[in-house]
Amino acid sequence: MANNLLVFSASPHVKAKRTTKHIMIDVCIALLPACIMGVIYFGLNAFLILALSLLSAVISEFIYLLICGKKFKAIIKEFDFTSCVTGLLVGMSIGTNYPLYAPVFGSAFAIIVVKMLFGGTGKNLVNPAVTGRIFIFMSFQTVVGAWLLPSISAIGEPAVNTSATLLESLLKGEISNLSNLNLLLGTGVAGCIGETCKLALIIGGIYLAIRGVINIGYPIIYIAVTGLFTVALNGFEFTYFLPSILSGGLILGAIFMATDYTTTPNTTVGNIIYFVALGLVTAGLRQATGMETVSFAILLMNLFVPLIDKFVINRPFGFIKTKKTKGGV
């Protein structure tokens, strides 16, 4: 009975253990297979880029909070790993031929401008990683030029020396000679560090779905709509279907970037609208511009989320009954 320090709070008094931090750590774990495959394919440089972009994201968050007058200990205590996810995603979405300062600037921009200036975790209007990726793409593309091929060449086929990404050639009407298996594994496919091995990304996505972090249906809707719309735009040529979904940043974007909680609608119906629209915009923009547009499509659709949320809201339990004429009694 010697307890005079009772905690007082509103109900419920028991809660699920999972916090934002746990969710973000789960996302980091889900990103690991793709990161590892990136390092295997592209070597030490890939590791350096990933490490630098991760560190840059975390450090810029710390510096921002320190400038805001938070105590270092409090920052450590409240650190929720969202900046780790952003940092990793920014690093994963660029190629190894980028200068090492590119991921540093990209991550810092994503964290400070896109996330912290809007109020930190959960307050950002658009996805920080996507914006960071676009920032790098816009700023450093001319320095870089072509995408690099991974060190492991295509299985069972001669190495291709293409400077354009597979997707770009696909959109120009050149059906690649790479098999879908190679596209899935990323062997012999030029591209970014984290986007090349689709299988690793899919494994990460399955992990997130099992852990209940994301609803796997939404990325599937996005990917399927993109594939089907590409097929439709190319005169219902179904040979386009698998290459269009297995190349470029679609799978990374669909599983890890488009499903970001903060920048997706809050209702099931809203989410379906969002992901279908995302698929249409992605395929349409790809066709129109001839380049990879997943990140632009996500950025664009992020801005529509508040609008979707305004018009699509849940109806309370028992709502339909008031409109129906047939009585249940």
């Binding site: 007082f8 709070s9 109900s11 419920p12 028991v14 969710i23 930190g120 809050n266």
Partner: protein, 434 residues
């Protein structure tokens, strides 16, 4: 008799049951305390008017608080003794209420109602009203009012879901007093002039389901283990498939829902001529030395209850009156057992949650789990911005305060707190507006 499976609603949550602490313990009768504190406001509606003064000698079962208005309930002395005082006390729930304090003399003399041979529906309801019976599941709505609907009902649903974690009092009563519950049900069905009685029991209580199988005129519906299955609207949906329209009451779909403990109180009032003077509650949680299921005289101070259970452990950090999902935290030990109390929990760190809230990450888990299909994150942000008009537009008044949203919130936001504040403000606005 028929047993069928209940419907499933795709929302709600699945909290850890933690019922094993007390599920096997028979109900013990707690010895009478030296003093009881009987609140005049143990129900929804107007507080009762004290009918005794300091120094009066009262018997157990003697009226000490008379109902005051249409929605109100009588309060009876739960012990025999002398009135020590009639005082206003701020209790551990932070409510200022009038209490009649009675010192026990130990003689246990009992005042009973006159026994009546043949009850008519109207006399049944009159007896239930007289006995001060209220919904003992937690809401405390006067039962007699609930039994006098404007239209003829066709179904009586008995709520044996007990979906709150920790609590076992309904479960133990279903096992130990099956016959009494059955008799109570028959009387209430007679009062409502209907024959269709359904008892809904969650599937994690197979013994209770078995206990009721022997009654041929009660339909058993085995409910999924899901929270909040015990919510009136969801229980009606899962047992009968009827949806109570927004803003309407169960009687609008021809249903009356009653609690297990209320049935026992009705049985005692009608057949044993006893008013409501005691309740059965679960004392549980890892902060209590010996968790128990207890039959307690109303008005027993919490300290006596806890002492009888071996006292609090040193690591107890939170006291809760009621279940962990909808119960209220206590700010001290000056809580006195009410009619509606079905449990007292002493929780330790790790068992209860003391994390500070962080930013909402818009994960929409609250909206996915809300059994009323509301969008708690919007209502919360409107409530925090003092925009109660919009909070109402987003359905704040439909909230059950079941806690499904805050249970799963990864940002640990106190959603229920904000929403119930919004509800209070909206009620205030409406009152001032009209």
């Amino acid at each position: 008799m028929s047993i069928k499976k209940g419907k499933f609603f795709p929302y709600g949550i699945h909290p850890e049951g933690r019922k094993e602490l007390t599920s096997e313990l028979p109900i013990e009768i707690m010895p009478l305390p030296s003093k009881v504190y009987l609140s005049m406001s143990q129900h929804i509606g107007a507080p009762a008017m004290p009918t005794v003064a300091k120094g009066d000698v009262v018997k157990k079962g003697q009226l000490i608080g008379k109902e005051n208005g249409a929605v109100s309930a009588n309060v009876y002395s739960s012990v025999s003794g002398t009135v020590f005082g009639v005082e206003e006390i701020i209790n551990a729930l932070g409510q200022k209420q009038t209490y009649v304090i009675i010192e026990t003399d130990g003689s246990n003399e009992e005042a009973l109602f006159e026994s009546v041979k043949d009850f008519e529906p109207t006399t049944l309801i009159e007896r239930i009203r007289l006995a001060g019976i209220v919904g003992l599941g937690g809401a405390g709505f006067p039962t007699a009012v609930k039994l006098s609907p404007k239209t003829q009902l066709d179904t009586l649903i008995i709520n044996g879901a007990e979906c709150e974690p920790y609590l076992n009092c309904d479960y133990r009563l279903m096992l130990e007093r099956t016959e009494d519950i059955y008799k109570g049900i028959k009387h209430v069905a007679k009062a409502l002039k209907l024959n269709n009685v359904i008892i809904g029991i969650e599937e994690n209580k197979p013994l209770a389901i078995k206990a009721f199988e022997k009654f041929s005129d009660i339909n058993i519906v085995v409910l999924k283990k899901q929270y909040p299955m015990g919510s009136e609207k969801h229980l009606i949906y899962c047992t009968t498939g009827r949806k109570v329209p927004v803003g309407k009451m169960p009687f609008d779909v021809g249903v009356c829902v009653q609690n297990i403990k209320t049935m026992i109180a009705c049985y005692e009032a009608i057949e044993l001529n006893k008013p409501l003077t005691e309740t059965v509650m679960t004392v549980s949680g890892n902060g209590v030395t010996e968790p128990k299921n207890l039959k307690v005289a109303l008005g027993t101070p919490l300290t006596d209850v806890l002492n009888y259970c071996g006292g609090l452990k040193d690591n107890a950090v939170k006291l809760v009156a009621g279940g962990p999902m909808m119960g209220k935290a206590l700010i001290g030990l000056n809580h006195y057992v009410r009619k509606t109390d079905s449990g007292v929990l002493a929780l330790i760190n790790g068992e209860t949650d003391t994390d500070a809230p962080t930013n909402c990450i818009n994960c929409a888990k609250c909206a996915r789990n809300c059994p009323m299909r509301l969008m708690p994150m919007y209502i919360e942000s409107f409530a925090l911005a003092d925009d109660y008009t919009n909070a109402e537009k987003y359905g704040a008044m439909n909230c059950l305060e079941c806690g499904s949203c805050a249970f799963n919130c990864p940002a640990k936001r106190p959603l229920v707190q904000s929403i119930s504040m919004a509800k209070a403000k909206i009620r205030e606005m409406k009152k001032n507006g009209k």
